[in-house]
């Protein structure tokens, strides 16, 4: 087997070079649905962090026991157990947030990011690397969510995390907190990220060519 990335590489990759939202386009359902407020986005990111960390660690520990044809079932059941914990925790201690996020917390079970990380990293690498991978990917996911949510919340309500950042006369762009705003913001930000990446790789190539 080829050399697997180290824990540090795994962590760093998740944040920008392999950002789940902008580079892998995974987990787009919550990305579009819960990004009309920054607070919701942060809670969603935290929930994913908990589930991914626990699931990755657990899968990594039992990786030698996995049977290839049953591994997806095992992944899903493990993830479901931790998602249930998060879901009940939110319902008990953050009732309003739990209501706001609605079905998107239970839906973490089928979030591709988590199954993808279990498959790519946790089922092949030791616990520490798997945990670093989980942390990096969830940070990247939260970063993606918060960036979209900031744009939508500022334009849509003139506020950020509940604090007014725009002048009082700011006309709320109601469309930005509605579903079309999610698609527009995500599309435009994705375009911007792609543009930056293309620019970077072009200048990198030029650099190599010169030296």
């Amino acid at each position: 087997m080829a050399d697997q990335p180290t824990a540090l590489e795994r962590f760093a990759q998740g944040i920008l070079p392999e950002n789940p939202v902008y580079r892998q386009l995974l987990g787009l359902c919550p990305t579009l649905a819960v990004t009309n407020s920054v607070k919701g986005a942060i809670i969603m990111g935290a929930a994913v962090l908990f589930v991914l960390l626990c699931a990755n660690a657990m899968i990594s520990l039992i990786r030698n026991l996995l049977k290839p044809h049953l591994r997806i079932v095992v992944f899903t059941l493990t993830i479901a157990a931790f998602v249930t914990i998060v879901d009940r925790f939110l319902a008990a201690y953050m009732y309003q947030m739990s209501k706001d996020l609605g079905p998107y917390i239970p839906l973490i079970i089928v979030n591709c990011i988590i199954i993808c990380r279990c498959e790519v990293c946790a089922s092949k690498q030791p616990v520490f690397t798997a945990a670093a991978d989980a942390a990096g990917q969830s940070l990247g996911f939260t970063l993606g969510l918060v960036s979209i949510a900031s744009v939508r919340e500022i334009l849509g309500t003139g506020m950020l995390l509940g604090f007014r950042v725009m002048p009082a006369a700011w006309p709320d762009w109601v469309i930005m907190v509605l579903p079309p705003g999610a698609f527009l913001t995500f599309g435009l930000l994705l375009g911007a990220v792609n543009w930056v990446v293309a620019k970077k790789s072009a200048s990198g190539k030029k650099h190599q060519g010169a030296s």
């Binding site: 006309p171 762009w173 469309i175 509605l178 079309p180």
Partner: protein
Amino acid sequence: MTETPDFIEPIDNTPIEPPSLIQVGHSPHLSHASCSTQRMMMDVLIALIPVTGMAVYIFRLYAIKQIAICLAVCLIAEAVFVKMRGRSFSLTDGSAAITGIILGLSLPGPAPWYVGVIASVVAIGIGKVIFGGLGMNLFNPAMVGRAFVMISFAGIMAASGYESAVSGIDAITQATPLNAFKQMGISTPLKDLFFGFTNGSPGETSALACLIGGIFLCIRRTASWEIPAGIIGTVLVMGGLADLTGSPSGWTALHHLFSGSLLFGAFFIATDPVTSPMTSKGKLIFGAGVGFFIMILRFFSGYPEGVMFAVLLMNAVTPLINNWTIPKAMGE
């Protein structure tokens, strides 16, 4: 005397080369040398004169302000976005100017300046240039921009947005005819609707001005007659059916036809050659679909008017209609 080439000379002065390949370009498709995008856009500009004149006569400074803002911002946005995409300069084809004027005519006069600015930037940026510029856009750019501000600033764009105490004609202080009808069941006299002495978006109130401009466009074949015919026919049929069921307030099929932005939309918005089907059968289906959705939205939705959403809905199925109505080639 020099040798004359035995093939048709191209209209511009590009180096002459034999027409060996059939060029497959994107719409609008032009078959005659005198046809060009500029000529079509010129026609639309001429056809918009009666509508614009009527708008300025009734709404005075409001109309001028709104049209000027939208026109200027659309042109600037087109120049900036096209440059960002690294394409050649495309302002001269006039399409951005048309989008700007139509958008300006379709926004309520008293709406604040930023509504026109945002609508124009969205129309050109998200409605057109993102898809690849003129000919590539799926949705009518002006309606994309209008839908964006309509949903964003519902309060400014809805009933109260049209009311203002200062204007040339007393009508402007009233609710729009469709709003008055929807909310209070008051119907407006047909004569006022026909000539346009009612409140509304600057471009839409005068049915007569829209008809004059629209018929000019159809005669010049810049707009296809099938689309307005389909819309008007469907509206009359559905309005007539509603009449038969007993309309309590005297709002007849003709009221439906002359009120709101129906004729403006039928002649100037739905006929956009880029976002409507290519075959005449397809155009009839498209027109009928727009008319159907307008009536459904007017009867059953919370909005008093449905032209904008009807056009956007049918824009979305235009590729499908094109696919259904591919003409059979000879011998197939």
